[in-house]
């Protein structure tokens, strides 16, 4: 009889792996995968954290949050109308000093933007806040607007993490794939949700057989945003084959040895940040510092009702 597991994530966040089968991600990736980097594919087996690994005292974690404050419509002179989106987004860095036992917000910034394709739209200024206009190319359908916010948020995350780190080479954990952040030094991308299967069926068995704290050998992805990658199982999962599994990547500019060293460090560092299911709807993948950071950032975004009312007032005033 098949064993069943309830996914630890709150259903509204989707699942920790996006696919149909309960065994894991279903859609296979067409990417070129080189699995012979650390050990030959035939010898793949779970790797324990080695005792000799350097455990960094200070870990930086970056994340951003966004919220759509209001949807707007413009009325142009020629009678046409464009959709607009007033959004707030914030990015922050947590500096976890594990030796001293203090986690603090090393930097955070909130920005607000009015995303629209309207050529005549102007910056919205209310008493307290300012929505800078971010003009989009093309027709700017309402459904495309939310995705226009993401590049801005990533940009802000980059800025903030550069400032907060201040040149140190402590480990930086970026939420999500690295993509265009691959130039950051000593940085790993942390992928919570497994949408694609990169490995062959035989090697996926190694992934699902990982015990908490163990990782797979490093492999190389040959995609556009590819690079070195490996899987890690965090403690606190439900025991389902793919629960608690995260994929971690680092810059393809590194040598294989450097990538393996980062993989070792991640295996020693990340498990202690894993969250527990009753506290976080996306446990254990949503790391504790990230959850705390998101809470702080959401607080900094301001009260949604107040902002919505302020926007309503500001637009009403501009019409008269």
């Amino acid at each position: 009889m098949t064993r069943m597991f309830v996914d630890a994530w709150d259903p509204s966040y989707g699942s920790s792996f996006e696919g149909g089968s309960e065994d894991g991600p279903s859609s296979s990736s067409s990417a070129q995968v080189d699995t012979d980097v650390e050990v030959p594919a035939a010898e793949w087996a779970p790797i324990d954290v080695s005792a000799a690994v350097r455990r960094p005292d200070v870990v930086f974690l970056v994340d951003g949050v966004r919220r759509n404050d209001a949807g707007l419509w413009t009325a142009e002179e020629d009678g046409t109308s464009y959709a607009g989106l007033a959004a707030s987004y914030a990015a922050g860095v947590v500096r976890c000093d594990l030796a001293r036992g203090s986690a603090e917000l090393a930097g955070a910034e909130v920005r607000r933007g009015l995303f629209t394709a309207s050529p005549s739209a102007d910056t919205l200024q209310t008493d307290m806040i300012r929505y800078e206009v971010r003009r989009l190319e093309g027709p700017g359908e309402a459904s495309k607007l939310p995705s226009a916010v993401q590049p801005r948020l990533t940009e802000l995350e980059l800025e903030i993490s550069a400032v907060a780190r201040g040149g140190s080479d402590d480990l930086l954990v970026v939420d999500g794939p690295l993509r265009n952040r691959r130039h950051l030094v000593n940085t790993i991308g942390y992928v919570k949700t497994q949408q694609k299967l990169y490995l062959s069926a035989a090697l996926n068995v190694v992934v699902t057989s990982l015990k908490p704290g163990q990782r797979t050998p490093v492999f190389h992805l040959g995609t556009v945003w590819g690079g070195w990658s490996w899987y890690l199982r965090l403690p606190g999962g439900s025991g389902a084959p793919w629960s608690g599994i995260v994929r971690i990547e680092c810059s393809p500019d590194l040598t294989a040895d450097q990538a393996i060293e980062l993989a070792e460090i991640s295996g020693a560092t990340l498990p202690r940040f894993a969250s527990s299911p009753y506290k976080d709807p996306r446990a254990p993948q949503n790391l504790v510092p990230i959850a705390g950071l998101e809470r702080r950032l959401r607080g900094m975004l301001g009260d949604a009702r107040v902002l919505h009312r302020a926007l309503t007032l500001a637009t009403a005033r501009s019409r008269t």
Partner: protein, 581 residues
């Protein structure tokens, strides 16, 4: 107008997540700053078309919490360094003064300053006190004052001190307050001429008021200096003690203080002449007791027929020279059918007489050393503050309960009558009485309670100020407590602290009173809306034999007493306990 001077440092801002009201508001404490309970702070509120309102208050509660933590266990993640969180402190401020009196709430976000100097004085209303008596220092180490108007009878009088025995330091605070009245010079001539009558109930603690304290150290001296008081013992003290039991010479019954102690007693003649018999019975005025009628008729009979006879009295042709003889005679006369009606009236039945006789006989053992017929009546033996020193200490600690009541009742009645006769409120007389709940209990009546009630209600105009102390204010006659303008609380019993008598304490302070250290008191005075936490200095006078310095020369009544007969000639003053060879 309270000044927010530039020197005062900002410590935080008024919170916006809790209601700010004109009388109470919360302040978020800025990082790197702190506020403790009792700190004085001040903030400003700008108003359109008016001068700004300055709101001053004291901290009545402080709290700290992790912001960004959702679960109790998050604290471990935060301490480990994995969860970012902020420690935020907040302080509850209870307003003490609004100037000008425009009761608007402070605006959330307004900067809150720590008040120092003139701003602090203004916040605590010290600037409005014309005469201010130092009581000790606040938690911030700066003096706090008592408005003399509420002590000397100008606008109020009487002090009520409550607290657990032993740790609440009630008597110490009372004596320190007296010392401050006498020595601060704030009361002018009234302070210098004032008299104090102190009843010493426990141990021989108060018998060394005029001896310097050898344990006085530098910090304590500095404390006295800060309060602008000299660190010296009381200068003019006279101590009265009861005669030793069974001693025919009437020598005072004290063991540690050897010089400057006088014996007090009443002669039989005074006992009869001044109608002191009712004070023998604690509940003589209780209407439910039949025998009180007998008490009053016997008192009247003794007053009318007793004639002085060389120390003792003579009545019905018999010479009586001791209290025991008097009791025997009275009981004999009352039980005799022929004489009973002349002593007690005609409508008295035997049961009532027996009730009276039983109590009277019971008093023989306790009172015979105090009511004497064998000592010369010319010898000074009466407690009279007007003819005594500035401070008169009456030692009761060796006396049984009934005798204590008798002494307190009679002494207070005599003093109060003297004051009534004089008809003026000056000089002031401070009466310090511990265990007030024993002398003026909430239930029932007695002649002593009547005297104390008289003092509480009329003493203010006659210049008699009662400084009463008790473990439980809830057990003291309510009229005495309510007539006290100044209420002081030391450490309280938890059950006692919950009673309405302590309603003047805000909830947080009530909780603090449960763990107040010795030397810490909470003082409530009428013109400051919040009780002040006061730490009064260690006494500059000795409180026991072991810490007492040399006695003042005025107490050495003869050359014999000034030289220690046991001192080794040429010896270097070895410690008392040393073996002399």
């Amino acid at each position: 107008m309270i000044g927010v001077s530039d020197e005062t440092s900002p410590v935080g801002r008024v919170l916006g997540t809790a209601d700010a009201t004109p009388l109470q508001f919360w302040t978020a404490v800025a990082p790197g700053s702190y506020l403790q309970l009792d700190d004085v702070v001040v903030t400003k509120r700008e108003l359109p078309d008016r001068e700004p309102v300055t709101i001053a208050g004291v901290v009545t509660q402080v709290r700290a919490r992790h912001e960004g933590a959702q679960f109790d266990s998050d604290v471990f993640a935060i301490a480990e360094g994995t969860l970012p969180a902020l420690v935020q402190e907040a302080a509850e401020i209870t307003t003490t003064r609004v100037d000008p009196e425009l009761y608007v709430p402070p605006a959330p976000g307004a900067v809150v300053h720590r008040a120092t100097g003139a701003a602090r004085d203004a916040a605590l209303h010290f600037d409005r006190m014309e005469r201010r008596i130092p009581m000790g220092t606040g938690r911030d180490g700066v003096p706090v004052f008592l408005n003399a108007d509420f002590l000397d009878g100008t606008r109020g009088a009487h002090v009520s001190i409550s607290g657990i025995s032993g740790v609440a330091t009630k008597t110490s605070f009372a004596t320190f307050l007296l010392y401050s009245v006498f020595r601060s010079g704030q009361l002018g001539a009234d302070g210098a001429n004032a008299r104090a009558l102190i009843f010493n109930v426990k141990g021989e603690d108060l018998l060394f008021l005029d001896h310097p304290n050898t344990k006085l150290d530098e910090p304590t001296m500095a404390n006295y200096k800060l309060l602008e008081l000299p660190a010296t013992p009381f200068s003019d003290v006279r101590v009265y003690a009861p005669p030793r039991a069974g001693d025919s010479s009437g020598a005072p019954d004290v063991s540690s203080r050897l010089t400057g102690v006088d014996a007090f007693y009443w002669t039989l003649e005074e006992f009869c002449d001044k109608k002191l018999l009712p004070y023998v019975f604690a509940d003589a005025d209780d209407e439910r007791q039949q025998y009180t009628m007998v008490v009053h008729s016997v008192t009247a009979h003794l007053n009318r027929y007793a004639t002085p006879a060389e120390g003792g009295i003579s009545i019905d042709g018999r010479r009586i020279s001791s209290y025991g003889d008097l009791v025997d005679h009275v009981v004999e006369q009352l039980t005799d059918d022929d004489t009973r009606s002349t002593w007690a009236g005609s409508a008295i039945n035997m049961g009532t007489v027996n009730a009276f006789a039983r109590r009277l006989i019971g008093s023989k053992r306790d009172l015979s050393r105090l009511i004497r017929g064998d000592l010369a009546s010319r010898r000074p033996h009466q407690i009279k503050t007007a003819e005594s020193a500035q401070v008169t200490v009456v030692d009761l600690h060796n006396l049984p309960d009934r005798a204590q009541r008798f002494v307190v009742g009679v002494t207070l009645k005599t003093e109060f009558e003297e004051k009534e006769k004089a008809g003026t409120g000056r000089p002031l007389l401070f009466v310090v009485l511990d265990e007030l709940n024993k002398y003026a209990p909430r239930e029932g009546t007695s002649p002593i309670k009547e005297v104390l009630l008289d003092i509480a209600e009329r003493g203010r105009s006659l210049g008699v100020i009662l400084i009463g102390a008790q473990q439980t204010a809830s057990e003291v006659e309510r009229r005495i407590v309510t007539n006290s303008a100044i209420r002081v609380v030391g450490r309280l019993d938890p059950a006692e602290a919950a009673r309405p008598e302590y309603g003047f304490l805000p909830p947080a302070m009530r909780q603090r009173a449960l763990l107040a250290r010795p030397g810490t008191m909470f003082v409530n005075q009428p013109d400051i809306p919040v009780p002040l936490c006061v730490e009064f200095p260690f006494p500059a006078w000795a409180t026991r034999k072991s810490e007492s310095g040399p006695p003042p020369s005025s107490t050495l009544r003869s050359i014999v007493q000034s030289a220690d007969p046991f001192a080794v000639v040429g010896g270097r003053g070895a410690a008392d306990d040393d073996i002399p060879f």
